[in-house]
């Protein structure tokens, strides 16, 4: 049976250097429930080290948490990779880490806090997570798909780090599953207002870096269950699965 899932598929944690310290696993779960969300995805910059903690914190709370990662390509385009399983997400993380150089300077870029499901600090991530990887956008999309994941192009309406801003237009042979627009554009108008979305299925998410941002915008998926396969079908409008606009 198909149900509606109110989803915010792009939320950062305190591990992202540009994110607020309050973005801890338990607080993210609580705020997401307060906002009436059914489904969230955790996508930190170039890392997934807090994803497991948020998934544990969300267990038996009536909220689905999908693991993910927001990868910065060498063209400085942000791409979301979402998965069903934490293990696969960590495999993706290994691939990203192998292609990411530099060390963080917390006083300049911000602190990168690794936390557990009880909101206790485990340590800091020393990598330059804010940086660009040496991976091209095609490499990222291909690797995501080879691991059974979903590939979405982040905030395509934004000049900074959006694919259209960085590369002028979305290459027609880029095999992303869809695009994400930010809160600045409403989902029903995105196709008209953002030149170049064209044929790509469109979603919206908060890209929350602060608790108050969670659920600022959301996408309603009509699917059987919150899985990558179901979301992919909704993006393609297959088998009755769809996005409600």
């Amino acid at each position: 049976m198909l149900k509606q899932f109110k989803a915010d598929l792009h939320i950062h944690t305190c591990l992202s250097p540009c994110s607020d310290w309050d973005m801890s696993p338990k607080k993210i779960i609580r705020r997401s429930l307060d906002k009436g969300l059914d489904l969230i995805a955790i996508c930190d910059h170039n890392t997934a080290e807090n994803v497991g903690a948020v998934m544990k914190a969300g267990k038996d709370q009536g909220l689905w948490v999908l693991p993910g990662i927001e990868i910065c390509s060498k063209e400085e385009v942000h791409i979301l990779a979402l998965f069903d399983e934490l293990d696969t997400t960590l495999t993706m993380q290994d691939y990203v880490y192998a292609n990411l150089t530099g060390n963080n300077k917390p006083e300049v870029f911000g602190y990168q806090i690794v936390a557990n499901e009880h909101d206790e600090v485990l340590g800091e991530n020393p990598r330059l997570l804010i940086g660009a990887t040496q991976l091209g956008i095609y490499d990222i999309v291909e690797k995501t798909h080879s691991l059974g994941g979903l590939s979405l192009s982040s905030h395509v309406d934004r000049t900074a780090y959006g694919v259209i801003g960085q590369l002028g237009f979305i290459p027609s042979d880029l095999k992303i599953d869809g695009v994400e627009v930010s809160y600045r554009v409403s989902l029903d108008k995105a196709g008209d207002e953002v030149a170049g979305i064209g044929k790509f299925p469109c979603t919206t998410a908060s890209d929350a870096h602060f608790l108050d941002d969670i659920g600022k915008v959301w996408t309603v998926f009509v699917i059987a269950q919150p899985s990558i396969d179901e979301i992919q079908r909704a993006l393609r409008g297959k088998d009755g699965r769809r996005i409600m606009i």
């Binding site: 063209e75 400085e76 091209g136 956008i137 000049t159 259209i164 801003g165 960085q166 590369l167 002028g168 237009f169 290459p171």
Partner: protein, 116 residues
């Protein structure tokens, strides 16, 4: 100035677009944000960038550029070179930074209304 004169003078490596080396250079432009380049690059320019994605060729065709120079020792993607050969857009590789190269080109008179 023709693109091939620039190649000889600076010792650039011609990675693609050999058939476009007789194009005339009328101006210069720098940048890596392709949306901005699509809007503002002047016709007949030589474009200095570190972006190596194949979209740079489409942008160069759109703005009727003379050539693309990939600066700072960066290397373009293989698909980019194939597209550049199809479109006859020379892609030149140099080790200079965009800053150094733009200064030298300007001093040579490229895009400079009053050459020294």
């Amino acid at each position: 100035m023709q693109v091939k004169e620039l190649v000889e003078r600076f010792g650039f490596e011609v990675k693609a677009g050999n058939n476009g080396l007789d194009r005339q250079i009328k101006d210069g432009y720098c940048g890596d944000l392709l949306s901005e380049i699509m809007a503002n690059a002047p016709q007949g320019c030589v474009w200095l960038t570190i972006q190596g994605h194949q979209n740079i060729v489409a942008v160069a065709v759109l703005r009727e550029m003379a050539a693309i120079i990939i600066t700072g020792g960066q290397t373009p993607d293989e698909e980019t070179l194939q597209k550049a050969n199809q479109e006859n857009i020379p892609i030149l590789l140099g080790s200079h930074s965009a800053y150094q190269l733009a200064g030298r080109l300007y001093a040579l008179g490229v895009g400079n209304p009053q050459p020294e």
